[in-house]
């Protein structure tokens, strides 16, 4: 069946029957009045300036709305690809750097241990600056009393 082929008079007649569906009598007598009243009450002002021009254009020209959304998608894709290339560049740069920690790793086995403790590596950092008591006892067995253990106690508790 070709697009121009007659689909059947009965179907067209049935569809055209919808023209007989009419709003209540007198409905259009006041229709324009209501529109004008709404305009006079300030609905005509709406958004002004640049945004009004944009929304009006998008509403009356769907092609522009499509072009606008296409532009946004393109910008998004360009942003993603640009960020990925930046990450790759930054990754190469970081691999070329040598790691130098703020504190050298303290390997307990480098110090003599009179009690024969199993050496334990301790990594102090800005996030964990407090030396554990085990570390003090093993690292400084000759003068543990010189180092005051850390205690946190609030007054009145």
């Amino acid at each position: 069946m070709e697009p121009n082929q007659d689909p059947g008079n009965e179907l067209l007649h049935l569809i055209s029957w919808k023209r007989h569906e009419q709003p209540p009598p007198g409905y259009f007598n006041h229709f324009s009045e209501r529109v004008i009243q709404r305009l006079e009450s300030g609905e005509a002002s709406g958004p002004t300036g640049f945004w009004q021009m944009i929304t009006d254009l998008l509403e009356t020209k769907p092609v522009l709305a499509g072009a606008y959304s296409l532009g946004l998608c393109s910008m998004l894709l360009m942003g993603i690809s640009a960020s990925q290339s930046l990450l790759q560049t930054a990754g190469g740069y970081s691999e070329s750097l040598t790691y130098s920690p703020a504190f050298p790793d303290l390997i307990l086995s480098e110090r003599p241990s009179s009690r024969g403790d199993v050496p334990v590596a301790y990594h102090p950092s800005s996030m964990n600056p407090v030396f554990p008591s085990e570390f003090l006892r093993v690292s400084y067995p000759e003068s543990p009393s010189l180092l005051q253990p850390v205690q946190f106690q609030l007054l009145g508790y």
Binding site: M1, E2, P3, N4, D6, P7, G8, N9, E10, L11, L12, H13, L14, I15, S16, W17, K18, R19, H20, E21, Q22, P23, P24, F28, F31, S32, E33, R34, V35, I36, R38, L39, E40, E43, A44, G46, Q52, M53, D56, L57, E59, T60, K61, P62, V63
Partner: protein, 208 residues
């Protein structure tokens, strides 16, 4: 010759009411803020704009709101109207876009609120014959058939329903529809063909 009769009625219904110059003059005055000129423009196209929105939504209350908002929106955007197309086509485009956006938000929450049939419906011999001879249930009355027809229309996609509404109900030409829908004439014809084909399937119990 039923088709010929339909076409004649459509042409009569959609014939321009005023000369283009007259309309353009009204538009120019309305662009200067003359509400009485805009009132005249609204009066000229209110019935066709309302009918288009009504046939798209199948809901009288929604059609009332959308038709009024379309005219308000058109007035707000009137300064951007350059006269490249007729005011009639331009305001139609606004109403159609507003309706399509509304239907997208409404999605499948269709609530029929149908208008009454006018007296001419019951006096249309072709339709009376159709109801009495073609329907499987002889007791099916006009109102029931109206509901079936609207339900079938609502099953169409928005674009297909719009083409059927503008062409087969409103009687607009393919060229006018392509301008309103911002697509080429081939697309209009194709959509019309598939929409009719679907309607024929949905209403197969009521037509040959």
């Amino acid at each position: 010759m039923a088709m010929h009769t339909v076409t004649t009625v459509q042409e009569k219904d959609t014939a321009p009411v005023a000369e283009p110059e007259d309309e353009l003059q009204l538009v120019r005055k309305a662009q200067q803020g003359d509400l009485s000129s805009y009132d005249e423009l609204v009066r000229r196209y209110q019935e066709r704009i309302y009918a288009t929105v009504y046939h798209m939504t199948a809901n009288h209350e929604d059609a009332t709101d959308l038709a009024q908002e379309s005219f308000i929106k058109a007035f707000q955007a009137l300064k951007s109207f350059k006269g490249d197309s007729s005011f009639f086509t331009w305001v139609y485009r606004i109403a159609v876009n507003k309706t399509i956006n509304f239907l997208k938000q409404r999605k499948n929450r269709t609530h029929l609120s149908l208008n009454d049939l006018d007296l001419n419906a019951e006096n249309d011999p072709a339709l009376v014959a159709l109801v009495s001879h073609k329907t499987p249930r002889r007791d099916l009355n006009l109102v029931e058939l109206q509901a079936k027809l609207n339900e079938a229309m609502q099953k169409l996609s928005d674009d297909h329903r719009l083409v059927v509404t503008l062409h087969d109900i409103q009687g607009l030409s393919h060229e006018e529809i392509s301008e309103i829908m911002d697509c080429n004439i081939g697309t209009v014809r194709s959509r019309l063909f598939y929409a009719r084909q679907q309607l024929q399937g949905y209403l197969s119990d009521y037509i040959k």
